[in-house]
Symmetry: C2
Subunit: 400 residues, 2 copies
């Protein structure tokens, strides 16, 4: 039996226990041995829970037990997860984590440490929940130069945008509904401001470049400015508004950003609705590919964590290659990225034509007292200049 420890018995951690129990035999067959949970680290005691007698409060108990070969980190947040994970790797234990904050900030360091100790640090569940994307990037898309990776990486915001489109409702009402349903947290800023998606695209971009991409370098806009009026315009254009997190190769670098986009019905991400996530990849020889599935949720995320445990079980004596060095990758300035822009303004059509050269005016049902239009393709900085000339801009959404 391969003995494991789980750090953090919240939604994902308890999901890991459930998945290991539910599919015990098939997981054993694929791992070459049974997987047994020896410890569960948590501040709480979980009286009456079947794992109660496995609960420990001190991570050093796990560090000092040579029987534990694999540690699952499902606590979330950078600290104390970082301290604990580092100690486990230093003690020669393999680690898998679902913690995007930890991976985005400390990924390169922990990967290097795992390499040094000839163990593994895996993080399939940190991006896209149950969707296999980290392992495919690392071991399947290896014949390609990835020229674009664009994802719907946050289920909460995708659920909210889907609801707004379905019901014509305003942002605040949909947020309340998402909170009531448990899809959004009391403090929803990590989701709605795009911070969560930002960390995830930082991880994907690091893997694509093979170098450290700092999430603080990624221009990030959330969905808080999206209104029911924007949705009306999107519908008039046959488009959907999605929060996209993307990295695109341009010249010899990458431009990464998180922002709402209007995408049309032929875009592979257009039909991705509700809490689902999807990741679109364009490779220079592969062409277009897409990975779709449950981006969050107890069991899908736990499924990804356990797939890491199985992979580790098959590589107990060797490090699985991951290309992500600590050398910092400077991103290109997002202001160089080229887009079309949908703009709403109180200026007149004449003024719009003066400020922008070629525009397409959009009429949306029931919208009056303002002008909506789509610009031709131009860089962000060019757009900013022209918008300043125009004067009052009620809102802008990029068009892809």
């Amino acid at each position: 039996m391969i003995k494991i420890a789980i750090m953090g018995y919240g939604t994902v951690g308890s999901g890991v226990v459930e998945v290991l129990n539910t599919n015990k035999e098939s997981i054993a067959k694929r791992s070459g041995d049974y997987i047994g949970v020896k410890y569960v680290l948590d501040l709480r005691d979980f009286e009456g829970d079947p794992i109660q007698d496995k609960i420990v409060h001190d991570y050093q108990i796990i560090v000092n037990d040579p029987e534990v070969k694999v540690v699952v980190e499902t606590m979330g947040g950078v600290e104390p997860a970082y301290t604990f994970v580092k100690a486990m790797l230093l003690a020669g234990k393999h680690v898998t984590t679902s913690n995007k904050a930890l991976v985005a900030e400390k990924g390169a360091e922990l990967i290097a440490l795992a390499k040094e100790k000839n163990v593994n640090f895996l993080f399939e569940a940190s991006v896209g929940g149950g969707i296999p994307i980290i392992r495919p990037l690392n071991s399947s898309l290896t014949a390609d130069e990835i020229e674009e990776i664009t994802g719907i990486l946050n289920g909460t915001t995708n659920y909210m945008l889907t609801q707004m489109a379905a019901n014509g409702s305003e942002f605040d009402d949909v947020l309340k509904d998402a909170q009531a349903k448990g899809y959004a947290e009391k403090d929803p800023s990590a989701d709605i401001e795009g911070y969560d998606a930002c960390r995830k695209i930082a991880i994907l971009t690091s893997l694509v470049c093979g170098q450290q991409v700092d999430f603080t370098d990624i221009h990030t806009e959330g969905i808080t400015k999206i209104t029911a009026t924007d949705i009306k315009y999107a519908k008039a254009m046959g488009r959907a508004i999605k929060l996209l997190a993307s990295s695109k190769k341009q010249d010899d670098g990458y431009i990464a950003m998180v922002a709402p986009y209007m995408i049309d019905a032929t875009h592979p991400l257009y039909p991705v609705n509700g809490v689902f996530n999807a990741i679109f990849v364009h490779g220079n020889v592969l062409g277009d590919a897409m990975f779709y599935g449950s981006g969050a949720g107890k069991l899908p995320t736990a499924s990804a964590v356990v797939s890491d445990v199985v992979d580790i079980a098959k590589h107990l004596d060797r490090n699985i290659w991951v290309e992500w060095s600590g050398e910092k990758k400077e991103l290109l300035d997002y202001k160089k990225s080229v887009n079309k822009y949908f703009v709403r303004t109180t200026a007149t059509k004449e003024d719009v034509k003066k400020a922008f050269d070629n525009v397409t005016f959009i009429e949306a049902e029931g919208v009056t007292g303002e002008v909506g239009f789509v610009t031709e393709a131009m860089s962000e900085e060019e757009y900013t200049d022209k918008a300043a000339k125009l004067g009052v801009v009620l809102g802008m959404i990029r068009v892809a």
Copy 2:
């Protein structure tokens, strides 16, 4: 440098050379060494081609050259590919193939032989072209019991059905167009009769079960009976007609079949158009996932082959676990599978109501002189009985 040989310099084989040249540096970085083509086996000479001096006509030259560690098989067909591949594995060489016919028929045996010789037999490109699906099934979806795997696995037929839907054209005209564009072969039966998709779902089902599934056991219907009238009905129902190859867990077994289905707009495979392929997977803990991309074509397929070469380069001294034993898996009779059925008949609505209990009649624009209806869910055998009672059936398409 890792020396490889390519057997078969057709579309995919020459694509492999192109991919290795195009992404030489990044592939070397990921493989840990440069990949060099030492031999290309083909009956032809390719005078003037840069690989001309690497051409050999006798596979024994490759078998007997200990410098060649990896062999790429892109010839197609069971023989002589089987004889050549077996000889390569017996000589201790790793093999990757894009050959679905070979994998469907001899996969279990060649996997076992590779294990015995501590080398690898990989076949990512045999299903779904460039879409990573074999490796994800084998190494990412390992925490799950796969309860369903359903794919659009043939780009030719999907292109044809997409064209029929877009233009309202008849099957024969669309086939001629596909042949003119090079999407369909002169003898198109492997595609349009569903044989190609059948071999691919046999491979996927074998991987899901971990046992040998014989493609001859899979009930297979092609798209030759689909008419412009069927498309009109599908549109009236807001559905698309797709050739689906599927395996579903039922009781303790799997039912596998290939047939056209009418699917609605909420189905993850609905937006998959043209020559694209996609594979939908439902796991008992993962829930729904989908993999989408180019199902065929020179470079996408070659990208998958080269990803196998990179994987082999990272596992030159050890066998990568693949769960697919030679023990035969008996499939459940497809007549036990439960579906709704769209039926066209010259019988009256009264007769339809007598033969089937609950039906929904469908009116399609411009269709007269016949009755179209959808049945309630029932087994295939129950449907067959009721349809026999009804008498003249002009056509039947399953509804999913």
